[in-house]
């Protein structure tokens, strides 16, 4: 009986093994066929795209040069390739007249309608392409169509929508962006900064945005402040100095102090910077030394000499760089001063930074 059970058990096992093997082989075959099909489809698409580019590239160049080329009908299958090429040309163009030529051509072939169709599709790729197109077309009526995409779950879509909105109506787009900056922690702040920089914001718009940030700064958490503070680099010093002063208050945490010190640009902030040169957290002292290099006066030379003996290498390094920034004396005079320093670390770091300057 026991032997019979064992035999039936091993028969079942062998059956399972066969089944696993056969199913795996069938799945392997199916996957390989899918890879082959993907390859085939990619090659077919590539051929079609090549033909489309060969047809439309010269026409688009002529349009950009202000000519009025003969325009063939745009096949529905070629819409995406056409829009991609059209956008690439727009990206590389400088000058209003070239853009107008391309926009006229877009109107002739119905690119706006094609972009709206692409915007309605689910695929992120289509929506991305549509947003780029609507950005360059700059139709005021598209603002309301694009604005909801600022709340899309995908950060790249949101930022492409923001770019489009800034192109269509900067003044209306600025508050829309700001209201979402706090909550959308997934938006890379580097890209937001690039977007604002590329948007050629006017003085009034920048001041408006600075005021909006300033008005809410006391409500932001440390994490939010750390995220948003690098944005201050795009504003005028006068617009941000009062805000930075508040952020340099003694009760702030080191992360905020370090980030705010990077944005300290006005002489009014000098007392804050000097105070923070002796802060217990070394990243704060490092940023304070750098800020002192930008804002300091000759009487701060001794303070920097003292910082060159700091236990932290970065504080010593930044202090030496600040000392040699030209605000605290000539390099020769400072080198001679360095020879008289009693602290070995201070001498070494000064020697290092002087050599960097000579190299």
């Amino acid at each position: 009986m026991e032997a019979a059970l064992a035999t039936s058990g091993s028969d079942a096992l062998v059956g399972v093994a066969y089944l696993i093997g056969v199913v795996s082989l069938v799945l392997t075959l199916l996957l390989t066929l899918q890879v082959a099909w993907l390859q085939l489809a990619a090659r077919r698409l590539e051929r079609r795209q090549r033909r489309c580019l060969e047809t439309w590239r010269p026409i688009l160049y002529d349009a950009a040069m202000g000519e009025a080329p003969a325009v063939p009908p745009l096949a529905p299958d070629d819409e995406a390739t056409f829009l991609l090429l059209w956008n690439q040309l727009q990206d590389g163009l400088r000058g209003r007249s070239s853009r107008e030529g391309l926009n006229r051509l877009a109107a002739t072939v119905g690119a706006h309608a094609a972009a709206l169709r692409a915007l309605a599709r689910k695929a992120a790729a289509s929506r991305m392409l549509a947003l780029r197109t609507l950005r360059y077309l700059g139709e005021p009526a598209d603002f309301d169509r694009v604005e909801p995409l600022l709340d899309a779950p995908e950060a790249p879509i949101c930022l492409a929508a923001a770019r489009a909105l800034f192109h269509i109506d900067r003044a209306a787009a600025t508050p829309e962006l700001w209201t979402r900056l706090r909550t959308r922690v997934d938006w890379p702040m580097a890209q937001v900064a690039a977007l604002l920089r590329d948007s050629d914001l006017g003085e009034a718009e920048l001041a408006g945005l600075a005021t909006a940030i300033n008005g809410q700064v006391h409500r932001l958490t440390t994490a939010e402040l750390r995220r948003i503070l690098p944005l201050l680099a795009i504003f005028d010093e006068a617009d941000v100095s009062p805000m930075v002063h508040r952020l340099l208050a003694p009760f702030q945490v080191p992360e905020v102090l370090s980030a705010a010190l990077k944005e300290a640009r006005g002489p009014a902030l000098l007392p804050d910077v000097v105070r923070l040169c002796t802060h217990p957290a070394w990243p704060v002292r490092t940023q304070a030394a750098t800020a002192l290099g930008r804002l300091g006066r000759p009487e701060h030379r001794d303070l920097l000499l003292g910082m060159m003996a700091d236990p932290q290498w970065w504080v010593r390094y930044r202090a030496a760089q600040a000392l040699l920034s030209g605000r605290f004396g000539e390099a020769g005079e400072l080198a001679a001063l360095g020879d008289r320093l009693s602290d070995r670390f201070a001498r070494d770091i000064l020697c290092h930074v002087l050599a960097e300057g000579r190299a």
Binding site: L13, V14, G21, T28, S126, L129, A190, Q191
Partner: protein
């Protein structure tokens, strides 16, 4: 229970182990699929103007060099052309016995430099520090030989940037490698390390240090490794990344937050698997201290490297990798099932231990016992073939799914002949190659258990894919 009856249990254990192993890989495969969809930018996104924001942190490229005289200058030339706003290169001549330092001095116009260095991690004695007169962002440290890990520690001491990028001197990088690998640090301030997909350069055309055309190597041994790399990177690592449980970033290319590396104690010099060891220690340091952190993987193929073309060199490489794995797991064992271990301690670590470290034992011993069972008559030949079919079939399925991930994402191998070759390599990998590498890994395990010291061995490089080029 008699000995023969006990042999009858072996197939059950063998099959159960394989099913568990393959199911784990299928789950990783599915995770990788989701991640690749998320990580691949929506079409057209890559076409957007990629202007720099000005917020990109500076990066120090750390390049350890030991007897690299023939190739070091070409490698540095390509690194100098990387597209990134601010970076410096720190080359460490690790006591080379050839003319590496002389070549560097001559070609880069090196001058001694009085650098005031922080000693964040201890290293062998530094003999000299130099700065290039030709390239202001390039420095060279000359030190006594201490191995790759020691050289990297010396470079970390000298690095000035908050991010350090560890690069092998023979790595072929994409021009935008740094931009891609730094992106996760910009997106999330808690990112402390980022690895990328490493591809095999054999068979590709490389000119002046940059990849010009992707191709497949002629050698079947290397083709099999191409498929292996797909599996290792496209779902081996990509699958663990969303769980923040990746245990290794390849030593050929990885970006780290310098402070995090110093906090973990730098590279360990008494292991041959210093790359994995560092990542395991980073996990341990941050997990056990409760500090939020992310170790991420970008699936973009950002680095191409030369694979061994002979069995002898491949054996040395695989034995070294296995030993490195064992040393890293042993050193980081406190993470295993630790209450703060998270996905690393409760998933990645046990999987690495069970399937990667002990896998060769089960595979080789299991196979040998099954053969014995067939000879002894306690297992029929059809049953043996059925188990073999299951093992090979599942291996093929996983290789094919890695191939699919590649075709869905980067689509580097586009010709039908290349697909056919990869399919052939997939079959060969599961019929002989895998068993051979398991045998080598088992030997490495035994040697490690008997405390035989590990060696790095010598990688023989043909660099047949490398067209001439260099500084002009």
């Amino acid at each position: 229970m008699t000995g023969l009856a006990a042999l009858g249990v072996v197939p059950w254990i063998f099959l159960g182990y394989f099913v568990a192993l393959q199911l784990t890989y299928v789950v990783l495969d599915l995770l990788a699929l989701g991640e690749i969809r998320r990580a691949t930018p929506p079409g057209g996104a890559a076409e957007l103007p990629q202007s720099y924001s000005g917020l990109e942190p500076p990066v120090s490229l750390l390049v350890p060099a030991y007897n690299e005289a023939p190739t070091i200058v070409a490698a540095l030339w390509s690194m100098l052309q990387l597209e990134y706003p601010s970076f410096e290169i720190v080359v460490v001549n690790d006591g080379s016995t050839d003319a590496t330092l002389e070549v560097l001095k001559r070609e880069l116009d090196l001058r001694p430099f009085p650098e005031a260095t922080r000693i964040s991690v201890p290293t062998r004695r530094v003999r000299g520090r130099y700065r290039s007169e030709r390239f202001r962002n390039l420095r060279v440290i000359d030190k006594e030989n201490g191995g790759k890990a020691d050289a990297l520690n010396a470079a970390i001491n000298s690095a000035r940037s908050p991010l350090v990028c560890v690069v092998d001197a023979d790595s072929v990088l994409q021009r935008d490698s740094l931009s891609r690998a730094v992106r996760p640090f910009l997106e999330d301030a808690t990112t402390i390390a980022c690895g990328g997909t490493i591809r095999i350069a054999n068979g590709c055309r490389v000119s002046e240090g940059f990849l010009e055309q992707v191709g497949l190597p002629r050698s079947w041994l290397v083709r099999i490794q191409v498929v292996e790399y797909f599996r290792a990177f496209l779902f081996g690592r990509l699958g663990w990344s969303p769980l923040n449980a990746m245990l290794i970033i390849s030593g050929a290319f990885g970006v780290f937050r310098r402070e995090a590396v110093v906090a973990a104690g730098g590279y360990r010099t008494d292991t041959v698997g210093e790359d994995m060891d560092l990542v395991v220690r980073l996990h341990r340091t941050f997990r056990l201290s409760g500090t939020p952190y992310r170790i991420v993987f970008v699936p973009d193929p950002i680095c191409w490297t030369e694979a061994p073309e002979s069995l002898r060199v491949l054996r040395a490489q695989r034995m070294r990798w296995q030993r490195g794995l064992l040393e890293s797991l042993a050193a980081g064992r406190s993470l295993l099932f630790h209450r703060r271990g998270g996905a690393v301690g409760w998933l990645a670590f046990p999987v690495a231990l069970l399937f990667d470290a002990l896998g060769p034992v089960v595979e080789v011993v299991g196979l040998a016992l099954m053969v014995v069972a067939v000879v002894a008559g306690s297992l029929s030949v059809p049953a043996f073939l059925a188990f073999l079919l299951a093992a090979v079939g599942m291996g093929l399925f996983l290789s094919a799914s890695a191939l699919l991930l590649e075709a869905m994402s980067f689509h580097a191998y586009q010709r039908p002949s290349q697909l056919a070759a990869l399919f052939g390599a997939m079959v060969a990998e599961n019929l002989g190659y895998r068993q051979l590498t398991s045998w080598w890994r088992l030997r490495a395990l035994v040697l490690w258990l008997v405390r035989r010291p590990g060696r790095w061995g010598t990688m023989e490089r043909s660099a047949s894919w490398q067209a001439p080029g260099g500084p002009r």
